[in-house]
């Protein structure tokens, strides 16, 4: 039984608002774009609640690449990162519009924006197609909060960061799990996983994904979910927010594994967003 939860009574704002997304231009694979301003000066101390990231480039090639989106504060040339989100771009031949995630809710609000802050963002991605225009916005709620919001003063982080996703390939028998693949070794602070993107490239493949903790060969499953591949392939970038973030204890080894419905090898890649603490868990 659960009958008491927190609820927001505050307005969410967008930056920039009532205007096209701010555009950044890539500088090659896993090289940061320049910082581009989202807001010249915040009106009040605020909590970052999400990002929007996408591109409308022509679909002349199959592009499947993670994108790191970094939010920063500071004057031009002096930006300091306050959070990094990872999303995924997937676009197929003759499908210029197909891609995965666009808006990513932060789930845990990032309590790191101060009144007067200049807010900017930059992106990097894994494709060698260059230059490409990527586009972004961000959402926030001004403080003081009237209602209650799940927040942290730590940055949003992602794994992996600045490199290709974790990758697993199933065997050729349906519903047989792969071996566990390590995401984090058994060291480090606690983690609260808020978002995961699984990308797979085969039509309608029903992929079960598990997170597990524990030493190698002794992993215990803590979370299982499903991703379904797009029929044309290459377009799935199915992100899943975890509104009840997945807790990984400090110094716990974190791993993942997959199985699918096909009697054929199927490949999936994974990335996660997480924070290391929650102010009001």
């Amino acid at each position: 039984m659960a009958t008491v939860i927190d609820v927001l009574q505050d307005r969410q704002y967008v930056m920039p608002s009532a205007a096209d997304t701010s555009a950044v231009t890539t500088h090659g694979a896993w090289t940061w774009s320049d910082w581009v301003e989202l807001e010249a000066s915040m009106n009040a101390d605020s909590v970052l609640t999400g990002i929007l990231a996408w591109t409308n480039m022509a679909g002349t090639a199959n592009l499947n690449t993670p994108i790191d989106v970094q939010i920063g504060v500071g004057t031009a040339g002096n930006e300091t990162e306050i959070s990094t989100f990872r999303t995924h771009h997937a676009r197929g031949v003759n499908d210029p519009s197909a891609q995965g995630d666009v808006f990513i809710p932060s789930v845990v609000g990032i309590d790191a924006l101060s009144s007067g802050d200049r807010v900017s963002y930059r992106m990097q991605w894994g494709s060698t197609v260059d230059p490409v225009t990527l586009r972004g916005k961000a959402t926030y709620i001004e403080k003081p909060l009237t209602g209650a919001l799940f927040t942290t003063t730590d940055p949003m982080q992602c794994l992996p960061f600045g490199t290709t996703n974790y990758t697993l390939t199933t065997g050729t028998t349906s519903y047989v799990f792969t071996s566990w693949d390590e995401i984090r070794a058994a060291s480090g602070p606690s983690m609260y996983i808020t978002y995961a993107v699984v990308h797979q490239i085969t039509n309608l493949t029903l992929m079960e994904i598990e997170f597990g903790i524990g030493s190698a060969s002794s992993e215990t499953t803590i979370y299982r979910w499903v991703d379904i591949g797009g029929i044309k392939g290459n377009q799935s970038g199915a992100g899943r927010p975890f509104y009840n973030p997945i807790y990984v204890p400090a110094n716990a080894r974190l791993a993942w594994r997959i199985r699918c419905n096909a009697n054929a090898a199927r490949t999936a890649t994974l990335s996660i967003n997480y924070v290391e603490s929650i102010t009001n868990p």
């Binding site: 009958t3 927190d6 969410q12 096209d20 197909a98 808006f103 799940f150 309608l204 979370y223 797009g230």
Partner: protein, 298 residues
């Protein structure tokens, strides 16, 4: 207890083909039959969400309902609007409940059903947990999940012909008898003229012509023809709206197209606000636990 979870979470079916919800003769006017997912819950059960696809069929605007009860006597315990993207186009196809649905005791038969606009088959995997270790959830018989408008693809929104100019406000409800917590939005329909269009919509409360914006949500409609637009735009936490409060929506976007968009909203209610210093939790009149079920609205 806390909002986060250390698991484990479960799926049904698992290691097996997805279950197709009954689609015979359905429309928004006619629900499909209930499809059994769990014959008898082994432990207290909490619903976390679904993954769905149309097996290569087109996109679907649907309402997905959960039910409990013996065959032929199922009672709806909650429902939500969901945009199932065309099977050809991938993208997010999992709807994670912003607040899990709890209060399902052991020994319950759990079913799903749908109503929708196209009659296309929908295949669903249910995400759930037993003895869920988080108390960030709401009992079905206290604050059930619902959507509005009911039984349609949504409220029609006609955009301005000027880029990024607001549409008129369109009323979603003149006021619900209970206070609610807004969970997510579903913006869609067949938006043939609006591919790759960035948009924002405002949720406002108050009398006509005196609306106050309480939430602004950005997004991108990637391709309305085949429904690649996001199935939902979700809030990180529920947004409280008092009872008997008029709720309206308006849209602004890139471009000059005035092709109408559609809009639906998922919410939980009734909720009751309790002021406890800086925290504003809510609770319901928990008049019933387990056994039978209270009839569901809508």
């Amino acid at each position: 207890m806390s909002r986060y979870t250390a698991g484990p979470t479960l799926l049904t079916p698992t290691a097996a083909a997805q279950v197709q919800l009954d689609v015979t003769g359905i429309s928004f006017a006619t629900w499909g039959d209930w499809t059994e997912y769990i014959a008898s819950t082994a432990n207290p059960t909490t619903l976390l969400g679904i993954s769905a696809h149309t097996n290569g069929g087109g996109g679907v605007s649907a309402e997905i309902a959960f039910g409990l009860g013996a065959a032929g006597n199922e009672v709806e315990i909650g429902k939500f609007a969901y945009h199932i993207i065309s099977g050809g186009n991938g993208g997010p196809q999992t709807y994670t409940l912003q607040v899990p649905i709890s209060g399902i005791e052991a020994g319950q038969r759990l079913c799903l059903r749908q109503r929708q606009d196209t009659g296309t088959g929908v295949f669903v995997v249910l995400h759930y947990a037993e003895d869920f270790d988080s108390d960030y959830c709401l009992d079905y018989d206290v604050s059930p999940m619902n959507c509005l408008p009911l039984a349609s693809v949504g409220t029609s929104l006609t955009p301005s012909s000027t880029a990024w100019a607001n549409s008129s406000w369109v009323e979603l409800t003149s006021g619900l008898s209970d206070a609610i917590g807004i969970a997510s939005f579903m913006l869609g329909g067949y938006l043939a003229a609006a591919n790759d269009t960035e948009y924002e919509f405002d949720i406002g409360t108050g009398a006509a012509s005196s609306e106050t914006v309480i939430w602004t949500q950005p997004g991108v409609n990637l391709d309305g023809v085949t429904r690649r637009e996001p199935p939902v735009d979700a809030l990180s936490s529920l947004r409280y709206v008092p009872s008997n409060t008029r709720i309206a929506v308006r849209l602004r976007k890139q471009g000059t197209s005035t092709t109408a968009w559609t809009f639906k909203m998922n919410y939980y209610g009734p909720i009751h606000l309790q002021a406890t210093g800086t925290m504003f939790p809510f609770w319901g009149d928990h008049t019933h636990i387990g056994g039978g079920m209270m009839p569901f609205m809508g």
